[in-house]
């Protein structure tokens, strides 16, 4: 990975790397994380990388010399980290400090307090709801940043027809037509099944985005933009964050604490349920539209770059 000069090969290998780390997460009992890593590390990341590579070129400049200073720094750092790591609790220890404080409470009380079996979802959406709100805002900001950098401050390029893009691949188009509804359906399943099995807004958002990106790749960007116009996407990105925030505010209105959903219904457990579903919906909308928006922005930017060269 370090030495390969062909950036394309590097990207391929990083796709394998994503798959590998996701299988590792499965072995570590982290189904939800593996889910996300599968869709992001093996799907979206190489995809965006490839899109960028079409613009920046596939081959790296020649550089044969090894840089000794960074190498030296790295060796020293590795030594220091190894020494530090030996002070950590052994792998898999039941009595490790990190399993002590709140984790025990989450494991013991969350099924009764929140009423849903997936602890990851209940911690994500309820106990640490404020944290997750922050993360959704980060995603929103990143999407806004990408749009500003790539689409702003520049007259819009006339949209050329991209009909001929994948025209040779008739088989792919047909299969794509069969698969895209399945993918979107599966996204919905993940979205609303997140309380019971692995899944939730983040994963569902990414899956949904992947479905639309697949459409854009097979049928051309302009067709995809007819399905989901950029303007709508911009609204949706904001809408998701808005739903999240306003669920919090609704709690304040009915007399509870911010993002504590117990007061949303007469029964606290039902209230938590409603709150989590709404919040996951907000997360899903933001993540999905942010990813699609980023992909569209990238594709358009690389497209106009090619046009400039011609």
């Amino acid at each position: 990975m370090v030495r390969a000069r062909d950036l394309f090969a590097t990207v391929m290998l990083s796709g394998i790397y994503g798959l590998l780390s996701a299988s590792f997460f499965i072995l570590m009992d982290a189904a939800d994380v593996a889910f996300t890593e599968a869709a992001v590390g093996a799907g979206i990341f190489p995809l965006l990388m490839l899109t960028v590579l079409t613009s920046v070129g596939r081959y790296e400049a020649e550089r044969r010399r090894v840089r000794y200073l960074p190498l030296f720094v790295m060796v020293v750092l590795a030594g220091a980290l190894f020494a530090a790591v030996l002070q950590m609790p052994p792998f898999g220890a039941v009595d490790a400090p990190s399993h002590g404080h709140v984790a025990q409470r989450y494991i013991q009380d969350s099924p009764a307090e929140i009423g849903i079996p997936n602890m990851v979802t209940s911690v994500l959406a309820s106990y640490r709801g404020f944290d997750t709100l922050g993360e959704v805002v980060v995603i929103f900001t990143a999407a806004v940043g990408v749009v500003v950098i790539l689409l702003g401050g520049r007259p819009k390029t006339p949209q050329q027809s991209t009909q001929a893009l994948m025209a040779e691949h008739k088989v792919l188009r047909v299969v794509g037509k069969m698969l895209i509804p399945l993918i979107l359906l599966f996204g919905l399943y993940v979205q609303f099944h997140g309380e019971y099995g692995p899944g939730g807004g983040f994963q569902a958002g990414v899956i949904f985005a992947v479905g639309i990106i697949l459409y854009a790749m097979l049928f051309g960007l302009s067709n995809a933009q007819r399905v989901v116009p950029l303007g709508v996407l911009r609204w949706l990105v904001a809408l998701g964050v808005l739903i999240y925030g306003s669920v919090g505010l609704a709690n304040l209105v009915v007399g509870g604490e911010y993002l504590n959903y117990s007061m949303l219904a007469s029964d606290p457990v039902t209230g938590q349920h409603i709150g989590i579903i709404l919040i996951e919906l907000g997360v899903g909308i933001t993540v999905a539209s942010a990813m699609v928006l980023i992909f569209f922005a990238f594709t358009r930017a690389t497209r106009s770059r090619d046009e400039l060269e011609e």
């Binding site: 290998l13 394998i16 299988s23 499965i26 079409t54 899956i207 697949l214």
Partner: protein
Amino acid sequence: MILTVVALALIVVMAMAIARAFLGPTIYDRILAVNLFGTKTVLLIAVVSYIAGRPDFLDVALIYALINFISVIAVLRFFEYGSSKVNDKVGKDA
């Protein structure tokens, strides 16, 4: 027991696929290796979920099968885009 054997075979094949991805020699070999690796990961996760006794992990295997297909398409599309710049080098890629 048998599931463990299958999982081991899968891991060995995944290692082979990684070796092929490193060796190349053409870019298509690498794509093929990635594709093979992806399918094997789907199976591995399915098998592991039965070894661990948690069949709800199958969702993850499902998303893998999906992502794998999409990444192959993405790669092909990449070639179609930069065809003038890239294609002549494809065959003899080191």
